[in-house]
């Protein structure tokens, strides 16, 4: 106790004294390392920085007259991109919830179609009141999420395997239910037009803002709020970070995981409803690549596949990047395969950055 008053005055702990000698020995090395550390640190604190930069730069490039002849940067085209990414965007939000807990959901696409098919079968083919059809669709979506969640938390199976299994199961059941038949647009209009509500739009100049686009933004805003402002959100991040530590901190990790899977299912239900408006009809064979596209948006959006890190807003930017590349390259007259090519590299880049952040911070 004798030295307590002199020690703080010197401000000495091991690190600060080490710091000082470091600086003397290799000032330059230190500064360079400082810059790299600083960048890494910045990315760690702002996981959406990279996707936002990629989005802004790609929008700027595609806006150049010599690239797209001025066809890209129009209100009409920008609003069209928003429409095109709206369904994958909402699915990516559902996917993000699972990935934040260090899981992955391969069943979101199939569950979305399953849910949409149930809405259509009941509301259109069977003439059940629309709101009951909608509720049934949401029950299917939330129930599917619950099923995934129970298998992950109770039977302790890896999410990858569980959702690979349920992907097949959901697809087969929905095809059995519909006999692989689509539900036609005119029939929906006649029997249950409310199912197509998210295809409606308001025009502002040449821009067409569909309700589906507004819905996507609302979904991200609400999820952002819950993930960042509630104890539940804090727990979701902690579980993805280190489930055991979260449990030791007194969090009911399995119960929280179940709520995450159910919330994700509810968001899939929203995507299902919105998809009817976007496509017009309900096809059991639509959105075949939706699972991978949702994962792509999440990864490009800077959410770590290892869980616990990233902003829920990232996947919104991720989905927009995909949409901007697709539109821009098409308007530039290039083969759409170049978009696929570019997205492939973006995924690899995003994961490489994530690894880098993990390595230095570990």
């Amino acid at each position: 106790m004798t030295d307590t008053n002199q020690t703080p005055a010197k401000g000495q702990d091991f690190e600060s004294s080490l710091d000082k000698s470091d600086k003397k020995v290799a000032e330059f090395e230190h500064r360079r390392k400082g810059l790299v550390d600083g960048l890494q640190h910045l990315l760690h604190l702002n996981p959406t920085l990279v996707p936002v930069m990629v989005l802004v730069v790609s929008v700027l490039i595609f806006s150049l007259p010599m690239v797209t002849g001025g066809k890209f940067m129009t209100m009409f085209n920008l609003s069209l991109i928003m429409q095109q990414v709206s369904i994958i965007g909402v699915l990516a939000a559902a996917q993000s919830l699972i990935i934040l807990t260090a899981g992955i959901d391969l069943s979101v696409g199939a569950l979305m179609i399953f849910s949409a098919v149930v809405m259509g079968l009941l509301g259109v083919n069977l003439g059940v009141p629309s709101f009951i059809a909608l509720i049934a669709g949401f029950v299917v979506a939330i129930g599917g999420g619950l099923m995934n969640g129970l298998l992950v938390t109770r039977i302790k199976l890896p999410p990858f395997i569980v959702t690979l299994g349920t992907w097949y199961i959901f697809l087969s059941v929905l095809r059995l239910l519909t006999g692989s038949q689509s539900i036609r647009s005119q029939d929906i209009d006649a029997e249950a037009p409310i199912l197509k509500i998210f295809g409606s739009f308001i025009s502002i100049g040449s821009a067409r803002i569909t309700f589906g686009v507004i819905l996507m933004i609302v979904v991200f805003a609400v999820l952002w709020y819950f993930l960042n402002k509630t104890a539940w959100g804090r727990h979701v991040y902690a579980i993805g970070d280190d489930k055991e530590a979260a449990e030791l901190a007194g969090i009911k990790t399995d119960r929280t995981l179940l709520t995450v899977y159910m919330a994700s299912g509810a968001v899939v239900g929203i995507a299902a409803w919105a998809s009817i408006g976007r496509v017009g009809s309900i096809s059991p064979n639509a959105f075949a690549e939706a699972n991978l596209q949702s994962i792509t948006a999440v990864v490009i959006g800077g959410i770590s596949l290892f869980g616990g890190r990233g902003s829920i807003l990232g996947p919104l930017f991720g989905a927009l990047i995909v949409g901007v590349f697709e539109s821009g390259l098409r308007l530039a007259g290039l083969d759409v395969q170049w978009q696929v090519f570019a997205i492939g590299w973006l995924i690899i880049l995003a994961v490489a950055i994530d690894q880098w952040i993990r390595k230095v911070s570990a």
Binding site: H44, A246, G250
Partner: protein, 249 residues
């Protein structure tokens, strides 16, 4: 005689074939510091993790304040006013210090949202007491040094005013100055009447801080002695030989 704060009676646990803890009994009184010593793998952490609710014992009983309790989870331990600093710290790396401090017990606004500003203010207060050099309140704890992370884990255990405190190698990553502050903290908490289980490999430090020390080897207690009745060498030979020289004499 006062009622013991904690009585662990004939505790056993095995992992597969490994008997990590075998028939161990240990008690702790208010205002007392009991030290656990022993080689790596002796079973110290496993024993206290049974008390903290991280593991469920295969056999044995835990009594708190003279009443038998059933501790199934870390939440049950907290409900019995037991706080733990784990050897692994058990922090969520991507959350900042305040979020870790209040993890699972967030301070909320009347609307049910996390009250970040109050959490931060409280964290600032307790960190000022534990580690005045600690400035990185907004950083994810993965960006902190080992010593700073340890301070966060200590703050979390101390903040909630437990009556029973478990400290598993709390100073392993700390500098000289912070180690001293933790020692002072232990002395202060002891005066307030807390019971503390302290695990450390530093025999000298243990002789200074503890009232009694228990030595473990291969999951069993070699012996429990009051520090004034033994020398540091006695303790060392208990650790190394796995025999209590006093009991043999």
């Amino acid at each position: 005689m006062t009622t013991p704060l904690v009585q662990m009676k004939n505790i056993s646990i095995a992992f597969g074939g490994v008997h990590a803890v075998e028939d161990v009994s240990l008690d702790l009184y208010p205002g007392e510091v009991v030290g656990l010593l022993g080689h790596n793998g002796a079973g110290k952490s496993t024993l206290i993790k049974i008390l903290s609710g991280a593991y469920k014992a295969d056999a044995g009983e835990i009594w708190i304040n003279g009443k038998k309790v059933d501790i199934q989870s870390p939440r049950d331990a907290r409900a019995n006013s037991i706080e733990t600093i784990y050897q692994t710290l058990a922090l969520a790396d991507n959350l900042d210090a305040a979020s870790n401090l209040f993890l699972g017990r967030e301070l909320t606004t009347p609307f049910g949202f996390v009250d970040d500003s109050r959490q931060e203010a409280e964290t600032r207060k307790i960190m000022a007491r534990l580690n005045p050099n600690f400035k990185k309140l907004k950083e994810p704890v993965s960006a902190l040094s080992g010593g700073q992370r340890q301070s966060v884990a200590i703050a979390r255990a101390v903040y909630f005013k437990a009556r029973i405190l478990i400290m598993d190698e709390p100073t392993a990553a700390l500098g000289v100055h912070e180690t001293k502050m933790v020692a002072d903290l232990i002395t202060e908490l002891k005066k307030q009447g807390l019971g503390i289980f302290l695990i450390s490999h530093d025999t000298r430090e243990m002789m200074e801080l503890c009232d009694r020390v228990s030595v473990m080897k291969n999951g069993q207690i070699v012996g429990t002695e009051r520090v004034e009745d033994v020398t540091e060498d006695d303790i060392l030979s208990m650790i190394i030989l796995g025999k209590n020289p006093k009991a043999a004499a």
